[in-house]
């Protein structure tokens, strides 16, 4: 999985400008999330995709041409913290199955955030792989519905990627 993190000015239409570019240049992405940063009027867009380095580099270069994009870089999964959140509504009518589910919840450090006679709503946060593994387990009990965020990510270490206002990070510069 490749993670692209873009710091953008929070102007009307910026998400449209980013997604329009991704679509028209034929890039295939897996998830995209948009949300606030520590700064006012500055948002972070996190994109995950599969693809070879040349494709990712081309997407980073194209996105960095959008004037609203303040900074963009690819995050190395090993050097970043990244999380996804899922809400899963599982059927839990049978008491024995219900206790199995609660067991898995404890193993995966998920939580029950709503319970009814026949179902549980479970929240799980983690790396996408962990969330997927948990989801696969829950499928055995009967998933009624599910909602997942995309991935959000930060580079490890003390540096802030949204504090600088340079147009692009080193990874979007030409390799010369």
């Amino acid at each position: 999985m490749r993670i692209i993190s873009a710091i953008v000015e929070d102007r009307p239409g910026v998400l449209f400008k980013v997604t329009s570019l991704i679509r028209r240049r034929g890039f295939n992405i897996e998830t995209i999330t948009v949300g606030g940063t520590e700064k006012e009027r500055v948002s972070r867009i996190t994109i995950t995709m599969r693809g070879n380095p040349a494709v990712v580099e081309q997407l980073v270069k194209q996105l960095s041409k959008i004037p609203d994009v303040l900074k963009i870089s690819e995050l190395e999964p090993e050097e970043s913290a990244f999380r996804e959140l899922a809400l899963i509504k599982v059927s839990a009518t049978d008491p024995s199955k219900r206790s199995d589910i609660l067991n898995y919840i404890s193993i995966f450090r998920a939580r029950v955030i709503d319970a009814s006679k026949d179902s549980l709503v479970i929240e799980i946060v983690g790396q996408p792989r962990k969330v997927q593994a948990f989801l696969d387990l829950m499928k055995g009990f009967g998933v009624i519905e599910m909602a997942k965020t995309g991935t959000v990510a930060l580079a490890r270490g003390a540096r802030s990627s949204s504090s600088s206002t340079s147009s692009s990070s080193s990874s979007s510069s030409p390799p010369d």
Partner: protein
């Protein structure tokens, strides 16, 4: 200064030293045109009333390319704005600085499918460098400053500014915007990185068969002198893309002419045989390189471009130089002189001379199929008009005949829709060019199909007194598609026969322009000479056989070596 939004827009345009606007008014831009009314009275900000918004956009584009400064067009909301789209897309593909101003329905009506509402910011975003929508009059000065800055810096291109009608009425304190910031956009110095120059110099010194391929970026950065200097120092022959025509005088001993699908034999063969390609201000378009994965297979490639996203987009290269073409070419030449490159007569120059000689006869032959030979029409035009004349073209066979056989001698004197290939571009573009350069003769080489897409703006040319000359290569067919049908569809001519085209002489006269029909080369030459100083627009109808082809041709998906000479 307390003014209306409309007046603020006019002031902002004057602050940007805009002299001409091409456009058509409509419901949403009535207040803007009301502010322009005073300008007309004072003789400021000339407005040219087009007959179709597409033409207004092409005019602004032609103006921008001829003069090297942004061209401005305007249209009302809804259909006015959507009619601009083709023109904006042309400017986008050819990196031409055009600022398009559109009216929008009042703010309270946006999103309600109001009368003449279209989401032009949404529509234009993929075909502009940026599309703004202004939400209050106080944003006008900064936004206009930003629009011109974006359009005319780094890799140039069109910018759209959408202004709701009620914003034009809103009052604002007008002050000229100073430097504006827009997001992460940085105006680049364009200086090449010394290390990439060093590596490029290494490749040049090692190479035995270098070839320069110059694209539109050389013209955009006014780098013609630097291009010729580098070519002479190495020495390396120079091929150009369609957009690069004019970057080097095509009579220069090192000029090979255009490369690509309809490129010259010597240019294409040189690209196949070269061991080093110095590609500058070009983007390895499919029409330029033929079969992409085979292009430059046996060569090292140096790629100079101002846009880092062009590096590696279509083709992997050995040495990328992200820089302004002029600065990079100058730095490369300087460095080569410092390291003491020695000019030598070598096998490569002999091979180039041999290639040129080999194909000379083909270009000079003038077999015609019953009417005038397009080749000779182009040569006649070149010999009959002054060097500084500017030529625009339509799209299709007319454009490729011009590209192959009309020698361009100065930069910014060959203006064509290269990337988008929009039929109908040539005539309105010629009007914009003439407005930009009133002292130069302006000729539009067009096809009958192409001209018929935008000929209604003959009305504009006549009323606004913009005397350009259109040469209609009149073959009564959509010739380029017909040529493909002939060569690749077993002559199944599906819907390419126009049947009867209008009488172009009468058509011109109906608008108050002059129409001339020529029957032979003598008549053609005298018609052209007569038109050079014409005071009214002229249309010269040149009969051409529908069976004339553009040759040579590299069939799509083939390498440049697999050229077809006869068809």
């Amino acid at each position: 200064m307390r003014v209306s939004g409309a007046k603020a827009l006019v002031e902002a345009l004057k602050d940007e030293k805009v002299e001409v606007i091409f456009g058509i008014p409509g419901g949403s831009t009535i207040p803007f045109y009301d502010a322009l009314y005073e300008c007309a009275e004072k003789g400021e900000l000339r407005h040219i009333l087009a007959r179709h918004e597409q033409c207004a956009a092409h005019m602004a584009d032609g103006y921008a390319r001829a003069k090297g400064i942004p061209g401005v067009c305007t249209a009302t909301s809804g259909p006015g704005a959507t009619n601009l789209v083709t023109g904006i897309a042309v400017a986008h593909m050819d990196s031409s600085p055009v600022v398009a101003i559109t009216g929008q329905v009042p703010r309270s009506m946006i999103g309600k499918d109001a009368f003449q509402e279209a989401d032009i910011v949404g529509i234009a975003t993929p075909i502009t460098k940026y599309a703004f929508q202004i939400s209050k009059a106080s944003e006008i000065p900064d936004t206009m400053k930003a629009a011109f800055m974006l359009a005319n810096t780094n890799r140039k291109g069109p910018v759209l500014v959408d202004i709701p009608k009620d914003v034009f009425y809103e009052e604002v304190d007008y002050m000229e915007a100073e430097r504006v910031r827009i997001g992460g956009y940085v105006i680049k110095s364009g200086d090449p990185h010394p290390y990439s120059i060093k590596r490029a110099v290494g490749l040049v010194l090692e190479s035995e068969r270098p070839l320069i391929i110059a694209g539109g970026g050389v013209i955009a950065s006014n780098a013609s002198a630097e291009l010729a200097r580098l070519a002479e120092i190495i020495p390396a022959p120079v091929a150009t893309t369609l957009m690069g025509k004019g970057s080097i005088p095509e009579v220069h001993p090192l000029s090979l002419g255009m490369i690509g699908m309809h490129g010259k034999g010597e240019a294409n063969m040189a690209a196949e045989e070269a061991d080093l390609l110095i590609a500058v201000g070009m983007r390895f378009n499919d029409r330029t390189v033929g079969r992409m994965e085979k292009f430059g297979e046996n060569a090292k490639i140096i790629h100079i471009d101002i846009d880092p996203a062009e590096i590696g987009k279509n083709l992997g290269v050995d040495v990328p130089i992200v820089a302004d073409a002029r600065k990079a070419l100058a730095a490369l030449a300087d460095r080569l002189i410092e390291v003491g490159i020695r000019k030598k007569e070598n096998e490569w120059s002999r091979r180039i001379a041999e290639l040129k000689e080999k194909y000379r006869e083909f270009y000079n032959s003038e077999e015609s199929r019953g009417s005038l030979s397009p080749k000779r029409v182009m040569k006649t035009l070149r010999s009959a008009i002054p060097e500084r004349s500017i030529v625009t073209t339509g799209v299709g066979q007319n454009q490729m005949w011009a590209a192959l056989h009309f020698q361009v001698l100065q930069p910014r004197t060959f203006i064509t829709s290269g990337g988008l290939g929009a039929m109908g571009f040539g005539f309105p573009a010629s009007l914009g060019v003439k407005v930009a350069c009133p002292d130069r003769p302006v000729f539009n080489i067009d096809g009958d199909g192409s001209f018929l897409m935008t000929e209604q703006d003959l009305a504009t040319a006549v009323v606004e007194n913009i005397p350009t000359v259109t040469i209609v290569m009149d073959n009564r067919v959509l010739g380029m598609v017909r040529q493909w049908q002939c060569m690749f569809c077993e002559k199944r001519y599906s819907e390419t026969d126009l049947g009867k085209v209008p009488d172009f002489v009468k058509l011109a006269e109906a608008y108050g322009a002059e129409g001339i029909r020529v029957e032979d080369y003598g008549g053609l030459e005298s018609a052209i000479r007569r038109s050079v100083d014409a005071e009214v627009p002229v249309v010269i109808d040149v009969p051409v056989s529908p069976d004339e082809k553009v040759l040579p041709m590299v069939p799509p998906g083939k390498t440049l070596r697999e050229v077809v000479w006869f068809g």
